[in-house]
């Protein structure tokens, strides 16, 4: 039976998510694949002793609101905000329809997964550069960086 490491499983799904984002624009597929990759990369980043995206958001919440949300709650909140939950859960209590901004949520889900990937492997691979450069151009990267410069050091990602 072939053996695979979960890093390779996560990377494969992240590359596929990126290809689908640019080629087919099936944003539902992008959201689910980026979410799956994040579920693995999050743990791998922790094992490296570095700060995953989820922990970063918890730290920013503490800086802004004075309390640290439980990690599990933050993880689920992020999955809900990015539309990941709506694509992989349905119970008899859920509404028959759901309102989503699929393109925005796919972009954000991809960026969140890529941010953890970069912590592990840097940003030199073609699919990583493609996502970063596309979002820089289409999310007004310059304006975001200007706002980022005004953010106190302790609210920034760890280096």
């Amino acid at each position: 039976m072939p053996r695979f490491h979960k890093f390779d499983i996560a990377r494969s799904q992240l590359v596929t998510a990126t290809e689908i984002f640019f080629n087919q624009r099936n944003f539902s597929a992008v959201i689910t694949l980026a979410g799956a990759a994040s579920g693995i990369l999050d743990e791998l980043v922790r094992r490296e002793g570095k700060e995953p995206f989820v922990d970063y958001t918890c730290r920013v919440h503490r800086e802004l609101a004075g309390t640290t949300p439980p990690r599990r709650s933050a993880f689920h909140h992020i999955e809900k905000r990015l539309g990941i939950s709506a694509h992989k859960h349905l119970s008899d209590k859920d509404t028959p329809t759901v309102k989503l901004d699929l393109e925005r949520q796919a972009t954000n889900a991809l960026v969140r997964a890529i941010s953890d990937y970069i912590v592990l492997k840097g940003q030199e691979e073609a699919f990583v550069k493609a996502v970063l450069q596309w979002t820089w151009q289409n999310s007004d990267g310059k304006a975001i960086m200007e706002r980022y410069q005004a953010v106190p050091e302790r609210q920034r990602p760890k280096k």
Binding site: M1, P2, R3, F4, H5, K6, F7, I9, S12, Q13, V15, T16, A17, I20, Q24, N26, F27, S28, A29, T32, L33, G35, A36, G39, I40, D42, E43, L44, A86, H87, K88, H89, L90, S91, D92, D94, P96, T97, V98, K99, L100, D101, L102, E103, R104, T107
Partner: protein, 172 residues
Amino acid sequence: MTVCEYTRLQLAERQLEAAIGLFMVGRDRFAVITLAGAADVILSQLAFDKDKSNFTDTLMGEAIRDGAVERTRAEHGRAINDVLFINDMKHMDKEEDGFVDMDPEECAFGAIMKAMVNYIAIVGRKHPTVAAFLLWVSKNMDSKKYNLSGVPNLKPEDAQDPASNESEKKGA
């Protein structure tokens, strides 16, 4: 970028279509498992809402008739997902070593077919996506191995290639 309203079926269909497309052209099997698995969670509930029963119930009934211990639908569903490694594609525990021993091809096809049964229960076999995929399956997948003709009560050993059965016997 705009907020739109989507039915649950639309969200499942987009994922299932992506899974089928990747599978047919021989691409990322891990992605196929994740997409078909996610679509199936939604389709299972929708099939249940429609008929008060879904594919998991059918499999559970068969397992109990074969002597398996009775379990809840959720427990049985989790066991099927474990066989197809659906959770391993999207989750990593603190304690685990991170290695997965699996056959991606078999799991990807299994994940799509499981979702397809529930999808057919909702939209029928004449739906263009269903009809096209089933035609592709009939032309490209091993009909005996996967029991495409629907022989009732087919045993796993009967679905094997006779040559591989023979070599297994010799090896034993």
